[in-house]
């Protein structure tokens, strides 16, 4: 019996191979398709042909016997129905897998360029179609009805898959787009072999397929020559409860798989701990108490603290959290089809940020006055700025009676600097080799072999000092977010290739090496520097304060291990050490541990 089935599948395989080999040749010879290589025509034909192959292999389980009027003879053979299904399915499954492996190998050796569909969606559809068609193979005596039913089931199946993730995302208040589930439905060629699919997706997909397969196995145990509707009735009798169970299970998997857990903590100046998580309410720990905001946020990332207010870095709106009354307030929302760039800055009573169209055009510097809640918009017409999605504002000053804003971008590994005037004028100041800074009304830029200090003299920036320096050093006031010019004495920086920490004295303009750089610097306005040292890659951290050219160790974390998911956050108010579920908070200046009971 198995031999007969194998020979039948082999016959069909030969016909399939001939069709997919000859069809491209006919298309090329008849010049229906011309000027293309044989392989570039063959491969998409082959790939689409495989869908039909999977469909045919699934639906043809009994069609041979039906065509030959041999179904009664088949059923009278000394096999149980399950044995019959096993014998008939095995060669078909092997054929489906063999052709899939051929496809994978051809895909790797050049098929990717001419593929008709993306790899993962193709794989999913190919096997799903086969299994669905197989499970419906006894659904009707008519091959066309079977094919249509299988395709309809495939669409329903994919609809359900989408629905399950849609429901899971709604329950979690996560936009569906965050889950990358759409990738599974894209049939555009050229995407990579493996996509970043949501966790448990294969389990959800299998759970939704199970009702079809289990109902098939259960109903086929009593498959006979009665009209298909008798079997279908039995099929649905099993299908309905199994489907309800599997749908619930798939929802659970989808719900579990869409859990985006990335808790992070921020210590405010008044020693309150803010807990952020994706698509959650913000939690504020204050001694023994914990408070939650009313509203959920995509991800509230505190970065700018002033008095009792904490401003966010991440959201599509300008959001401010009041740590006294624990209320989060949306200060500004961009107009439709406009979006904010990543960071917000603050100058006096003004929140400053950049806004652009979704297509990166129409960049504007937006000044939001916190008292009047009014915005002033300054258009920026500078292509190199809008080409880059993350331009930064790094300084502001008055020249004459007009205020200007300094913005840097990145272009060809260089940093173009732009001066945007409040009256709408835009000057391109020039380009610097490394990230520029603006401190004490001085612009710090870099040539290949020098550090350049410039100052604005109403007519433009003029160099006041050029310090010869060949190492790839950049001084930083990164993550400052305050644009108020409070004079500072010194600025620290580090090199990328040359692993040193250096200090620039802003009075004498002397540069000195302070120590070896392995880790990262943290800057807090005005003029406060910390250095988080990585002793061994991934494990153990030391935290230093950098002051007057000295590195003073504040605290060591020898049991820090990034491989175990540990993380260390340094804030102006202290240090937060996250070790799994254990959160330790140490407050400056004495690094006394703060206790939050409900943490």
């Amino acid at each position: 019996m198995l031999k007969k089935e194998i020979s039948e599948v082999l016959k069909h395989s030969i016909i399939f191979i001939l069709v997919v080999l000859l069809l491209p040749a006919i298309l090329l010879v008849t010049t229906i398709i011309s000027d293309q290589s044989y392989f570039s025509v063959f491969f998409p034909v082959f790939q689409f042909g495989l869908f039909f192959w999977a469909l045919f292999m699934g639906t043809s389980l009994f069609s041979g016997e039906r065509r030959q009027r041999g179904i009664e003879y088949l059923l009278s053979l000394p096999y149980s129905r399950l044995q019959l299904i096993g014998i008939k399915t095995l060669p078909r499954l092997c054929a489906v897998i063999v052709f899939y492996l051929v496809f994978v190998n051809l895909y790797k050796i050049g098929g990717q360029d001419s593929a008709a569909t993306t790899f993962i969606p193709f794989t999913a559809i190919y096997f799903t179609l086969f299994l669905l068609a197989l499970s419906l193979s006894a659904f009707s005596d008519n091959f066309i009805i079977l094919s249509v039913t299988s395709l309809f089931s495939l669409f329903t199946y994919y609809g359900l898959l989408y629905l399950v993730y849609w429901v899971a995302s709604k329950i979690r208040s996560i936009p569906l787009g965050e889950l990358d589930i759409e990738e599974l439905f894209l049939l555009e060629p050229g995407l990579s072999l493996w996509l970043d699919i949501p966790k448990f997706l294969p389990l959800v997909a299998i759970a939704l397929l199970l009702p079809f397969l289990i109902s098939f196995v259960l109903s086929i145990k009593k498959f006979d020559v009665r009209p298909a509707k008798v079997l279908n009735k039995r099929f649905f009798k099993y299908f309905t409860p199994i489907f309800v169970c599997c749908l619930a299970i798939s929802l659970l998997f989808a719900y579990q798989g869409t859990k985006i857990e990335y808790q992070d903590y921020y210590l405010t100046q008044d020693k309150k701990l803010i807990e952020s998580n994706y698509y959650s309410k913000i939690k504020i720990y204050d001694g023994d108490k914990v408070y939650k905001t009313e509203k959920k946020f995509e991800y509230f990332w505190p970065h700018l603290v002033e008095d009792e207010y904490v401003y966010d870095l991440w959201e599509e709106q300008v959001v401010r959290l009041n740590t006294s009354n624990y209320k989060a307030e949306i200060l500004y929302e961009p107009p439709e089809k406009r979006e904010l760039t990543w960071i917000r800055w603050k100058y006096n009573n003004t929140i400053v940020f950049l806004e652009k169209n979704e297509d990166l055009s129409g960049a504007e510097l937006v000044l939001f006055d916190l008292s009047s809640k009014k915005t002033t918009r300054i258009p920026i017409s500078y292509n190199q700025l809008i080409d880059y999605p993350l331009p930064r504002i790094f300084g502001t000053e008055k020249s004459g009676n007009k205020r200007f804003w300094l913005i840097r971008s990145v272009h060809d590994s260089k940093y173009p600097i732009l001066r945007v005037w409040e009256d709408g004028r835009t000057d391109v100041i020039g380009k610097t080799q490394r990230r520029p800074s603006f401190v004490n009304q001085m612009l710090i830029t870099y040539l290949d072999d020098a550090i350049v200090i410039s100052k604005d003299f109403e007519g433009g920036f003029k160099t006041i000092r050029e310090i010869p320096w060949k190492l790839d050093l950049a001084f930083s006031t990164g993550w400052g977010f305050y644009l108020n010019n409070i004079p500072i004495k010194e600025i620290y920086g580090h090199g990328q290739r040359h692993k040193i920490i250096a200090r620039l004295d802003l009075e004498t303009f002397e540069v000195e090496e302070v120590g070896e750089f392995a880790g990262y610097l943290r800057y807090f306005h005005p003029g406060i520097y910390y250095f988080v040292e990585t002793i061994k890659p991934g494990v153990s951290r030391n935290i230093y304060q950098l002051k007057e050219g000295q590195m003073k160790i504040l605290k060591s974390f020898p049991d820090f291990d990034i491989r175990k998911g540990h993380s260390l956050r340094v804030f102006k108010a202290g240090i937060v050490f996250i070790r799994g579920k254990e959160i330790k908070v140490y407050a400056f200046p004495d690094l006394k541990e703060l206790k939050f009971k409900k943490l």
């Binding site: 007969k4 088949l74 009278s76 006979d224």
Partner: protein, 280 residues
């Protein structure tokens, strides 16, 4: 007492909302030859298909004697069901491998001069039936189920077919259950007759005693109410009653000539009776 080879209990088959077989309880003995008759749509073929495992009952059980495996059950369908894309030889090889037949009996195949390389689909209906029978004969079945197929075969092949069946009964003590309407052709075969009506057996009698249990009587008068009959045929001059079950005392109650009936006439009376009842 001969053992039962097959016991059917509480058998019910439905197709859609229609009940085809309803609460059938019957036993078949080893080496018994049984003919099932009944009007079209009475459920005969469905019953045979249930025994052949081609239809699963919705309720009830079919229990074969211990040792009677599926390999020992042969079924010839009225639909002539074979893998017709195979050649005669391929069909034999396939059947032999599935039923583990080591020494296939080519006698019938050779007798009928089948071309072994010919596709089964190119055989005539009668040839296909004989070919199928030859496959089953090599299987040495303990139970042979034959649906209403004889009428499709020409007289020569019919004779061959019936000879083969009789030989099978004699050689292997096979239980034969066949559906047929015209008993003149198979008179030598049946020991027991079953008549089916609306999914139930209304007659289950041994052939040897059946003649005693059913008689016909012709009269100008109506017969008394206490005499049961299954069919009444009326003409302008007379009435013919088919009395069942017949008792000797009816001769006193209604003194007339009671005629013996042939098996064929008995079946006709039962089947005809169903039509008359339906008309009433």
């Amino acid at each position: 007492m001969t053992e039962n080879i097959l016991e059917v209990d509480n058998l019910r088959v439905k197709i859609g909302r229609k009940t085809i077989l309803d609460d059938i309880r019957i036993q078949f003995k080893k080496n018994e030859s049984v003919v099932i008759a009944g009007r079209n749509g009475s459920g005969k073929s469905t019953f045979l298909r249930c025994l052949a495992n081609v239809i699963f009952p919705d309720r009830g059980s079919i229990v074969y004697n211990k040792g009677t495996t599926k390999e020992k059950i042969g079924f010839i369908s009225d639909q002539i069901s074979l893998f017709e894309n195979l050649t005669v030889e391929q069909g034999i090889r396939f059947h032999s491998s599935v039923f583990h037949i080591e020494d296939f009996d080519y006698t019938l195949i050779n007798d009928l001069k089948f071309d072994l390389n010919q596709k089964i689909k190119n055989l005539s209906a009668g040839e296909k039936t004989l070919y199928h029978l030859s496959l089953l004969l090599s299987q040495k079945p303990e139970i042979l189920l034959i649906d209403e197929i004889i009428h499709t075969i020409d007289p020569y092949l019919r004779e061959k077919f019936l000879e083969a069946v009789i030989e099978l009964i004699d050689r292997y003590q096979t239980t034969v259950i066949m559906i047929n309407h015209t008993f003149s052709e198979i008179e030598k075969i049946p020991e027991r007759v079953l008549v089916m009506e609306k999914g139930q057996f209304i007659l289950d009698e041994k052939c040897e005693t059946l003649g005693e249990k059913i008689k016909s009587v012709v009269s100008e008068k109506e017969i008394p109410e206490e005499i049961p009959y299954i069919l009444k045929r009326e003409s302008s001059f007379q009435k013919e009653y088919f009395i069942y079950p017949f008792k000797e005392e009816f001769r006193k109650a209604f003194p007339h000539e009671y005629k013996e009936l042939s098996l064929n006439d008995i079946i006709k009376a039962f089947v005809g009776g169903q039509y008359v009842k339906e008309g009433n």
